[in-house]
């Protein structure tokens, strides 16, 4: 199967080669990784790779697999979900406010062509500045807010349309 990390378009090709008791063998790209996995009573388990022991937990949310490795948290998306989005040509058709706040900066104008990862809007909430970026290449169809404006959670800030075919 193919996984991507949330916020990252790089696809990771993985395959469970074998799982025999606690021993597992996984191919990650062109590397083979041998590991030992022992479940714990708490629902997680201990993963041992090259003598390093990691406490891990995992769960699913919507189309994501959430995993923790010690204090580190990860979100993976199976490639199918990413593929479905790519079929539409856009990661998202609107940029919405992830929280109520104030629009500090609008960095694009109607008609601008933007690349994946390009910053579009900066909003501020609870003393935090958050930069919202395009998840894929797109054309800015309509900027719906202006600097200084207060927005609610979920408010549409920018509408995007697919970039013109090149």
């Amino acid at each position: 199967m193919k996984l991507t990390r949330a916020g990252d378009s790089h696809e990771i090709d993985v395959e469970l080669i074998s799982r025999d008791g606690t021993t597992i063998q996984v191919r990650v790209g062109d590397r083979e990784i041998a590991a030992k996995y022992t479940p714990n009573a708490d629902g997680g388990g201990i993963l041992t790779i090259d003598g390093r022991r990691y406490p891990i937990f995992g769960a699913r949310r919507k189309d994501s697999i959430l995993v923790s490795v010690g204090p580190a948290s990860f979100e993976f998306k199976p490639a199918e979900a990413a593929l479905r989005r790519r079929a539409r040509g856009l990661a998202a058709t609107t940029i919405t406010a992830p929280m109520p706040g104030k629009v500090l900066k609008v960095l694009v104008r109607d008609g601008d062509l933007v690349e994946a990862g390009q910053a579009l809007v900066v909003i501020e909430a609870m003393k935090m500045e958050t930069t919202l970026a395009a998840e894929s290449a797109a054309m800015v169809k309509h900027v719906r807010v202006e600097e200084g404006q207060t927005v609610d959670h979920g408010a549409v800030l920018i509408e995007l349309s697919p970039p013109p075919a090149s």
Binding site: V14, V26, I56, V69, F74, F76, P100, M126, K127
Partner: protein, 507 residues
């Protein structure tokens, strides 16, 4: 034979003046929980208030009673003075603790409490108003003989130009009503000055409803060191040492420690003296913090935070005290006494719901699993439990992990280990980022300045080994899902994977 439990009557053994009986906690999250614990020790009944987004939040269940005060938006709940005062009156609370953030430094809130014959656990409203205004606070400091960053109160271009020529660029423009990093702007060269002055005044007017600005020399490589003070209504003022909060990201503190590494005892004594002079000049009561920037052998007054600080636990661990109990004692008319000598070292880090690999974008979600670190000298102040919802409405502080050690290295290693024991599944957070910072040689060697993050940790990524482990964990999660019968006797986070067609050809 039956064994009857002994009733614990806190009120009779704690020095509660019996003036206070019930405390309303006008806050949420970890700090509300923390205040409720101390209030209970102090012998007070507690009242929680909560927004529509927080009905299931931990502080609501922890209090003796809880009152809904409004919609999820902070402006309709935790910033809604009328609703909170009404909740105090409805519950018969005779005191309000504001916590930090929200209304904690709003004089009109303290005044509204006073008008309702409710004790406000904090300084008087007029004192708060004077210190909340950066220009007024600066004047108080200058009058008290406390050093301030060289600066000038003006928005006028020619005097600003003269000042900048005198101290040299870059200079810093600040809003009088700003604070905590808000309303600040660095001007690198003379050609930018005029535009920057206008923009700063305009922004200040828009953000704070107050367009007054002032200009300061920009310190290139300062440390942020602050002094904890306590003052009572009888004129007693004490200081409880310092905290070094130099490690900040976009002016938000993320790691704090006490004592400040390498701070000479002479310098510490001078800073404590300055903080006490300032507090005396301002007629300060209750807990407060005087913040300073330190560069070389010089220190400069920055601002007073007229409330309990987020990072207060590092002081508590060194002094063996409970600052919230001290606040309650002061509020009920008691006296503060000279603190015991501090011991050892304490370091705190703030665990935030944010993604450190993607520009620290705020994260939300529900906690699917939580492993909490433990052991001697480890304290985890958090309102998180399995099932907790982290919503987009409020700041993303998930908890604070604080470790004590006989010396800095012991505290540091203990904190690295404790972060290694922490697992919080379901809400992306900065715990691994904090662990890597605290484990670094730069932090070990205390190369502290407010630019620490920019200098050493600007492009942080999680280590390759951990990514491999995470990929394998994801594969295991998928395969456990493929064989649910193997784990069917368990209720666990993996159960969420049942019927998840990871391998299948989902449409």
């Amino acid at each position: 034979m039956t064994i009857a439990p002994v009733a614990i009557d806190c009120a009779s053994f704690v020095e509660s003046m019996a003036r206070l009986k019930k405390l309303l906690v006008a806050n949420r999250g970890e700090i509300a929980l923390r205040i409720i614990r101390s209030a209970r020790l102090f012998g007070l009944k507690t009242v929680a208030v909560y927004s529509a987004a927080d009905a299931k939040s931990a502080h609501v269940g922890a209090a003796d009673e809880a009152i809904a005060i409004g919609a999820a938006e902070a402006s309709k709940s935790y910033l809604n003075i009328a609703a909170i005062i009404a909740a105090a009156e409805q519950s018969g609370a005779d005191a309000i603790h504001p916590g930090y953030g929200f209304l904690s430094e709003r004089p009109e809130f303290a005044q509204a409490a006073a008008d309702g014959q409710i004790v406000f656990v904090g300084p008087r409203p007029d004192v708060m108003a004077a210190l909340g205004d950066k220009v007024a606070a600066r004047r108080i400091a200058i009058a008290a003989g406390v050093p301030v960053v060289p600066g000038i109160e003006t928005a006028e271009i020619s005097s600003a130009r003269d000042f900048a020529a005198q101290v040299g660029y870059p200079i810093l423009i600040k809003a009088a009503a700003g604070g905590g990093g808000r309303g600040m702007r660095v001007v690198a060269e003379a050609s930018q000055l005029e535009n920057a002055l206008e923009a700063a005044a305009r922004e200040a007017a828009a953000a704070f409803g107050d367009g007054r600005i002032f200009i300061e020399k920009y310190l290139a490589h300062p440390r942020h060191i602050e002094i904890q003070i306590l003052g009572d209504e009888h004129g007693n003022l004490v200081a409880l040492g310092e905290r070094d909060c130099s490690i900040q990201r976009r002016h938000q503190k993320i790691i704090e420690e006490s004592p400040a590494p390498g701070l000479s005892s002479a310098m510490r004594a001078k800073m404590i003296d300055a903080a006490l002079k300032l507090a005396r000049a301002a007629h300060y009561t209750n807990a407060g913090t005087a913040e300073f920037l330190v560069e070389g052998d010089n220190f400069y007054f920055l601002e007073v935070n007229a409330r309990l600080q987020v990072e207060h636990p590092v002081t508590e661990m060194r002094f063996g005290c409970d600052l919230v109990c001290e606040q309650l004692r002061i509020a009920s008319g008691g006296e503060v006494s000279e603190p015991a000598a501090p011991r050892g070292v304490a370091i705190e880090c703030r665990i935030n719901a944010e993604d450190p690999e993607h520009d620290f974008r705020p994260a939300t979600g529900s906690v699917l699993h939580l492993s909490v670190p433990g052991g001697p000298g480890v304290r985890f102040d958090s309102h998180m439990t399995r099932g907790s919802e982290v919503t987009p409405w409020y700041d993303g502080l998930l908890g604070k992990l604080i470790c004590y050690g006989a010396n800095r290295e012991e505290a540091r290693v203990r904190l690295v280990n404790a972060l290694g024991e922490l697992s919080l599944l379901g809400v992306t957070n900065n715990a691994a980022y904090l662990r890597d910072i605290i484990a670094s040689e730069q932090f070990r060697d205390a190369k502290l300045s407010t630019h620490f993050i920019d200098e050493f940790f600007s492009g942080w990524k999680i280590g390759k080994h951990e990514i491999d482990a995470a990929i394998l964990a994801a594969v295991i999660a998928a395969s456990e899902d493929a064989a649910p019968q193997a784990i069917s006797n368990r209720r666990s986070p993996w159960d969420g994977l049942n019927n998840f067609e990871l391998w299948g050809s989902r449409r």
